[in-house]
């Protein structure tokens, strides 16, 4: 039995439940941390204007542009911190496919914003 294991997020382990040296698996479980609550502004995806250049996907520091089969399909609402770099770097011309709106909470009608957790 390995002495190094994942500790379930949200639990408070006892002394005997701490993995050896506090070492945890590199399994990317930080993804459970919803940084989407940090937003004070939010990206709005205009699918019609998007050319799928993927620069927004590349330049998002939080991997929050969801791409499927080479197409930008959604914003990860659970993790997007609302920095606006996607919009700044958007390659669509003359009209940007990604713009920023005030307020962090997505409206129900903004269906391009998806919860991933």
């Amino acid at each position: 039995m390995s002495k190094i294991y994942e500790v379930k997020v949200g639990t408070l382990p006892t002394v005997d439940e701490i993995p050896l040296g506090g070492i945890i698996p590199s399994n990317g479980n930080a993804i459970l941390n919803k940084t989407g609550t940090w937003r004070t502004q939010r990206p709005i995806l205009n699918r019609d204007a998007c050319t799928d250049c993927l620069l927004c996907w590349l330049h998002c520091p939080d991997n929050s542009i969801i791409v499927q089969e080479g197409k930008v399909v959604a914003i990860d609402a659970d993790h997007c911190k609302g920095c606006g770099i996607c919009s700044a770097e958007c390659g669509a011309k003359p009209v940007k496919a990604m713009t920023m709106a005030q307020g962090g909470r997505y409206e129900a009608s903004e269906t391009f914003a998806k919860s991933t957790l």
Partner: protein, 310 residues
């Protein structure tokens, strides 16, 4: 490995979301692109205490999907050297059949200043590892204190702008030259404003046996008093104003990897940054002129080196 967005987008990014770096963080992009550039390799990393470290692994969560070791502030170079040395020993004994790439990562604070000794030792001993220094121009993790990489005149929390002194009084250290002077096979300067140039350099370094060193300009809009969406643009303006040239030193030969067709005025890079606002106020002209002199001096020095390498 080709650097093609259509291919990259299929890769599993081994630096996940959920990390606690600020919104719009430049170093976050460095970490993401490093993992993408190294996606086809087995990677083991050491990290200095720094923004990326403190925000990416907070017990019990890790944003990494590769082996990663944060030990202390000043020794990412020594730690990666130890990892690589054991790897060599295990390989020699027939106990290790996998290929690995070893990457050390640290901010300018943990590299230019407190970490310089162990980085130098790692380079001198010839460890097969890449040290990436992401330069956001100050000890950002602890609250924007000046480092040896902070530009002259920059406002920081230990080099305030006041009546007696206006920002940092010393020019920044030229660490790339110091590392090139170690005669290691690959040294490069990159920027978050130029993603393809950065990833190419990471791949080139990983493919080069022996020690390599890359410094990548990773703007911290918070510490520089700018805007969250300006990170990448600031990384571009730094290059386009000749403040932060993109070059590499391959086996001692200095070569540019990108030269701006037209050099933009330095003010365009400095104006969006509140940390230089005093350069634009009355009385700031001599400071601005001195800053320009320094940029010109370093650019000329670099071009002479490039020329003599031809």
């Amino acid at each position: 490995m080709a650097i093609n967005l259509k291919e990259l987008v299929k890769k599993d990014i081994k630096f996940t979301s959920g990390q606690r770096l600020c919104t719009g963080c430049g170093p976050a992009l460095m970490a993401k692109w490093t993992m993408l550039a190294a996606a086809d390799y087995n990677v083991a990393m050491s990290s200095a205490t720094c923004c990326v470290e403190i925000s990416s692994v907070v017990f019990p969560m890790s944003s990494w999907k590769v082996s990663w070791y944060h030990n202390a502030f000043e020794n990412a170079g020594a730690v990666i050297g130890g990892i690589e040395a054991t790897y060599k020993a295990l390989k020699r004994k027939g106990k290790m059949d996998k290929e690995f790439k070893f990457i050390a990562m640290g901010g300018d604070g943990g590299t230019y200043d407190i970490g310089l000794q162990s980085l130098s030792g790692m380079a001198e001993r010839g460890h097969n590892a890449l040290y990436i220094c992401y330069d956001n121009n100050a000890y950002m993790n602890t609250g924007i204190q000046r480092s040896g990489a902070t530009p002259k005149y920059a406002w920081t929390t230990t080099s305030y702008v006041g009546d007696a002194y206006q920002g940092k009084q010393q020019r920044r250290k030229d660490l790339v030259s110091i590392m090139a002077a170690h005669d290691i096979p690959y040294v490069a300067q990159a920027s978050i404003g130029y993603w393809r140039d950065y990833m190419t350099k990471v791949q080139k370094a990983l493919a080069t046996p022996g020690p390599s060193f890359i410094t990548v300009y990773a703007p911290c809009w918070r510490g520089w008093r700018s805007e969250a969406n300006a990170t990448v643009e600031l990384g571009r303006l730094a290059v386009q104003t000749n403040y932060w040239p993109l070059f590499e030193v391959v086996d001692g030969k200095w070569q540019m990897t990108y030269t701006p067709r037209e050099t933009k005025p330095l003010a365009e890079f400095l104006k969006p940054q509140g940390r230089f606002s005093h350069l634009f106020k009355p009385g700031g002209e001599p400071l601005m002129a001195d800053f320009q002199n320094e940029v010109d001096f370093k650019w000329d020095q670099l071009q002479r080196r490039v020329k003599s390498s031809l």
